[in-house]
Amino acid sequence: MKLPAFLESRQAKDSDLFLHSLFLAGESVYLAGYTSLIDLPQSIVMLRQLALNAAGAGKALFDRDSGVGTPMREPSEQEVLDALAAGDALICSQSGDRCLRLIPVGRTLSRALESPTTENVLRGAISAFNEDLDTNVGLIKKHLPSDTLRIRSYSLGQSQRRKTVLLYAEGKIREQLLQSIVQKLETLPDVDIPDLQALSDFFGFPKWALITRYNTSELPQEAAFALEHGKAVLLLDRFPFALVLPSLLSDMFVSQNDRNFPAIIMFSFRLLRVLGVLVNVLLPGLYVALVSVNPEVLRIEIALSIAGSREGVPYPALVETLLLLLILELTLESAIRLPTTIGPTITMVGGIILGQAVVQAKLVSNVLIIILAASTIANFTVIGFQNATALRLGKYLLLVLSAMFGVLGLFVGIVVICAYIGHVNTFGVPYLSRWKAGRRYG
């Protein structure tokens, strides 16, 4: 294959590719790479310096030990393209028989380190992961300056190569867990991993699972904490979250950041989160159960005031609750899409205008509005957005069961949810296990 000719033909199809001819150490060479990934002037300055150094040491430019780059012998087309796609530059001689691959000065295509956007930290390190894999690994290393930290990198996928890094702490991680993860990763799938769903398919987790098998976090300190406690952390290139394996129930309630507070405050935070989960999941179901099936459980005063507030509401409590829940879910979903400048407006429209009007129009009872508001607020006391969404689904099961069987349905629903949670496991580690470094309790 004539390399310059191939590159020229490629350039016709891909205008981003540059083919720049220049003199280095007395030789006329081509420099090739992607304009969007390489800072050309800076790279040329660097190249000249390198070439001078090589010449000063008496080495030829394309020698193995010239220090300019790694020589490529008889590269295939795919190899060349892979090297270019990875953001490397190629130098090849005019004749095209010799070629070097080198790391140029790249353009900065990542954010600078910023504070987290989905997890707030009150007391603790505020820097968050960003899209650059190396930055992320570096951040973790900074947070875990320990010689037990092991890093293995893989690149997954066929047409898209995705760099993936597995981190764990030697001696802390359970051997069995590590083996199953490494085994999976080393099969090097021939499917692409564009998103977490694909990754979860690749790991063989069930598709219809409500609970994600890996806990995601944006905070290097959380990842470092997980590593130190014998979990494995997976970093994907261009994905500003660390995936912590396995995920446990305690991930909902326990965050490393809590430990920056006094112990009593830490425990009360956690208790609060547990209560938040219970309130969020139970309250809507409890309302429906008490209003339509078991009103005898309410005290008479509350019963009468709820009856009064529901007077004139045309449909059963279940439909009423579902309707309002739908609106709430819509608000939540749209709040994510909205630009921050319009957010407050929607809050006002949704909260005040809709809330007030919907009661006055006798579409829903105002007790229900209070209950659903409390439930929605409580939803976000748990740690991690992915956990909060899983909870949001759980509440509908309880709602339907409560509408059918009242308080009995509610409690049976809890048992069902408990059973499901008890059943979930990640690589043989039950979701319900209490995690201590190196060992586990049921």
């Binding site: 078991n294 005290r299 069987f405 048992v415």
Partner: protein
């Protein structure tokens, strides 16, 4: 990795689920004074059989009951386990039917019986399908969530007690043990038997210590006594014997003005029902283990659904409460088989195995 804790919690859950509804009725029905004597006698039987059973199991440690019996011979295993399977299926039918009836009587008057039975059965089938480890873990979580409720209500239930009803502590009837042959007492033993047989079927990767279980079962004594004595102390023997569910009635008299809810009983009863659902799924799992060994053609989801369908259709055929009571009475024989023969057989086999092992090396 000792998992005794999970096993103990499950053991408690299954027993507590059985204690509070029917047990006090039978005990109060069987004698007029000195009820503690009947409770303790039942408990003595329970704990001695439990000790024999766990001793036998620990002697043949990695094997479960099925493997143990099969070691003797296929026919022997079949003959031993068939009545046990029948016992388990019957107890499932009775439990589902009885508890569905209790639910309609006490708080879901308008809901048809078959839907409640369907709910119980569907949930326990679901849990059973998830496997024994999930059952144990679910038990832990459910216990964690519901036990505080339970303790609260048990403490509150003493609100209206009058301790003088405890007297007389003994009378001639109780002292002569004449009640032991009466029907209610014989029936009352169901609360002692149903719960511990599952211990023999736990797979070896959930190890537990028999001694701990026996100790833990002592913790059940207060529950047994409370379930009988709270209604007695609240209403007196004369009145308590008139109620089909005396403990529930007694808890219903509790008036707590600082609580948000009016009828605390309901939450209590429902936690009990949840425990019963776990008991059912456990029973179902044990039965399935036997069925799958007996008829190897049947595989997991099919066998489970089939069993559920059979149990459900029999449940539908039970017309009324007196039929349930008759069924319970019919089940006494298999119950004694399960309560006495199985533990003793396990113990005997365990002893034989130990002797053989002592000879062999």
């Amino acid at each position: 990795m000792d998992k005794s804790r999970q096993v103990i919690v499950m053991f408690w859950i299954t027993h507590i689920g059985l204690i509070f509804f029917l047990y006090p009725t039978e005990i109060i029905g069987s004698l007029t004074a000195g009820h503690w004597c009947a409770v303790l006698l039942g408990f003595l039987i329970h704990i001695s059989m439990l000790a024999v059973y766990t001793k036998g199991l620990s002697q043949c440690a990695p094997l479960n009951v099925i493997d143990l019996f099969q070691g003797v011979g296929r026919v022997f295993a079949f003959a031993m386990l068939l009545p046990l399977a029948i016992y388990f299926i019957m107890i499932m039918i009775i439990t589902i039917r009885a508890y569905a009836e209790i639910v309609t009587v006490i708080f879901l008057g308008n809901t048809p019986l078959w839907t409640i039975m369907l709910l119980f059965l569907a949930v326990s089938t679901f849990i059973c399908l998830l496997g024994i480890e999930s059952i144990f873990r679910t038990g832990m979580l459910v216990a964690l969530l519901f036990f505080p409720f339970l303790i609260l209500v048990v403490v509150l239930s003493f609100q209206n007690t009058d301790w003088h009803y405890m007297l007389p502590l003994m009378d001639r009837d109780a002292a002569t043990f004449a009640y032991t042959l009466r029907r209610p007492f014989l029936k009352s033993l169901f609360a002692f038997v149903g719960g511990f047989l599952f211990l023999g079927f736990i797979p070896p990767h959930i190890p537990f210590q028999g001694r701990k279980i026996v100790l833990a079962s002592l913790g059940l004594i207060p529950f047994f006594l409370v379930s009988v004595y709270v209604p007695l102390l609240t209403f007196g023997e004369n009145t308590a014997s008139k109620f089909p569910f005396p403990f529930i009635m007694a808890v219903d008299t509790v008036d707590v003005s600082w609580l948000m809810f009016d009828r605390v009983t309901m939450f209590f009863m429902i936690s009990m029902l949840c425990f019963v659902i776990l008991f059912l799924s456990l029973g179902m799992w044990v039965t399935l283990l036997m069925i799958k060994r007996g008829i190897p053609v049947l595989k997991d989801p099919t066998a489970c659904l089939l069993l559920a369908a059979v149990v459900y259709s029999v449940c539908l055929l039970v017309p009324n409460w007196s039929a349930v009571e008759r069924l319970m009475w019919w089940n006494t024989l298999p119950r004694y088989y399960a309560a006495f023969i199985i533990p003793l057989a396990v113990f005997a086999l365990g002893a034989r195995r130990r002797r053989m092992e002592a000879v062999r090396p």
